[in-house]
């Protein structure tokens, strides 16, 4: 894979992750709080 394709993929993945997080919050932010949200390693 060329470097430019890798860069395009990484930008797409970063944007996709942010969009997924935003969509998830919109869809079930409250449910997330009720389910429990751990942050341990």
């Amino acid at each position: 894979m060329s470097r430019s394709l890798g860069v395009a993929l990484s930008i797409a993945v970063a944007a996709g992750l942010l969009a997924l997080a935003w969509w998830g919050w919109q869809r079930g932010g409250l449910a997330l709080l009720q389910l429990g949200m751990g942050s341990c390693l």
Binding site: M1, G28, S39
Partner: protein, 399 residues
């Protein structure tokens, strides 16, 4: 492409891989209730698979690191990404203790060891100059923290939209993205020269170095504390008559402030002695813990605790790995970092287990909080004598 731009892309690729691998792994707890309910399992079935995952992750990390040092982190990450994705897809059709243990436990545990801190940070370290190494590690670790924070709502959204099984398949597709992202890293093992160590020599050198064991034992304490707090804090806050949602919000604050704390620790590590920063960090944890259990627990103290612990949470990662890199160089960093991480996972296992064990026997978490405080002081004392001085082999070698 200039060296600076190349480094930026390596860091970006490493950050995304860590955000994906740590982020997906972080949402597994959300699958406990729906899977256990569908198959009529007690919580111990799912909990056993996750415990097995953590244990195998820790045990296989030194080996994954050694392979990364010898054959390049990129190859190990490709295999890790495939195992991770395969584990998630098989977990989607798991319907027994064995199939869940094989998928969520064995395959994902091995996949994590190929796609998380020790291997990824090793690749980053080999790419950046020594003076920028600590900050680069901080950025990579902060990306992992961000993934943990950001992927949870995404996982929940997928769960409520697709159901648990298809949500796992979707997460498997996300994990598979690690494979093409590895192209960003281009990590290759450092060229072998006549003066290079063998694997055994590197292990013997580290094993004979007091600082290596002191760092590893200090990291054990980190694992103990983060998993004890991550797993048992919500229940502790309920015991203190706070609503259940408060524990969740406190852990969300930990996750959020962890991003800033980890980056800041990496930045500081490039300017100050990393072992001394670790001493300060463990002492600060002790102070925060003493304060938290000494004052009446209110909403304000609980949220403040979340913010302060978040800043101190994974800040140990760039500082500990950075010190290992300074002491022994970057050639075998993934393997040596993997051994140190094994101690972290042993502490994590003990912290999670001991929290429940002592609570059941004493009726409160008081004893475990006190053990956590004492361990903080022990970790500070362990890191104090560590000198950030390269081993003689590196001092003697030409720059």
């Amino acid at each position: 492409m200039t060296a600076r731009r190349a480094t930026t892309w390596v860091l970006l690729g490493a950050a995304l891989i860590l955000a994906l691998s740590m982020g997906i792994r972080h949402g597994f707890g959300l699958f406990l209730a729906p899977m256990s309910a569908e198959f009529g399992w007690g919580r111990e079935v799912f909990a056993f698979a996750i415990a097995l995952q953590n244990l195998l992750w820790g045990l296989s990390q030194p080996f994954a690191g050694a392979l990364a040092d010898r054959y390049g982190a990129a190859r190990v990450m490709v295999v890790g990404g495939i195992l991770y994705a395969l584990g998630l897809v098989l977990m989607a059709s798991a319907d027994s203790v064995w199939s869940l243990s094989l998928s969520a436990g064995l395959l994902i545990g091995l996949g994590l060891s190929g796609t998380t801190f020790s291997v990824v940070v090793g690749a980053v370290s080999r790419e950046v100059p020594a003076e920028k190494r600590s900050m680069a590690m901080g950025i990579a670790a902060a990306a992992g923290s961000f993934g943990q924070f950001a992927m949870l709502p995404g996982t929940l959204g997928l769960l409520s939209w697709l159901g648990w099984s298809l949500a796992l398949v979707a997460l498997g597709a996300l994990a598979a993205l690690i494979v093409p992202l590895v192209a960003m890293l281009k990590d290759k093992p450092l060229p072998v020269s006549g003066s290079d160590q063998t694997l055994g020599a590197a292990l013997r050198e580290a094993a004979a170095h007091k600082g290596f064991w002191l760092l590893a034992l200090g990291f054990f304490v980190c694992g103990f504390q983060v998993v004890f707090i991550g797993v048992h804090l919500p229940a502790y806050l309920v015991d203190q008559h706070l609503p259940a949602a408060v524990g969740t919000t406190v852990l969300a604050l930990v996750g959020l402030f962890n991003i800033f704390g980890t980056y800041f620790a990496g930045w500081l590590g490039g300017r100050m002695s990393k072992p001394r920063l670790l001493v300060g960090l463990y002492l600060a944890r002790a102070v925060v813990l003493v304060w938290f259990i000494s004052v009446p627990v209110t909403l304000f103290t609980a949220y403040t605790f979340g913010v302060l612990m978040g800043i101190l949470w994974l800040s140990t990662v760039p500082l500990t790995n950075g010190t290992v890199a300074t002491l022994f160089g970057v050639r075998n960093l993934s393997m040596l970092g993997g051994i140190v991480f094994l101690f972290h996972q042993l502490g994590a296992f003990l912290g999670g287990w001991m929290g429940g064990f002592l609570y059941d026997r004493t009726g409160s978490y008081d004893m475990v909080w006190k053990i956590s405080i004492a361990l903080s002081l022990v970790a500070a004392a362990l890191n104090w004598p560590v000198r950030e001085q390269p081993v003689e082999r590196l001092r003697m070698s030409p720059a």
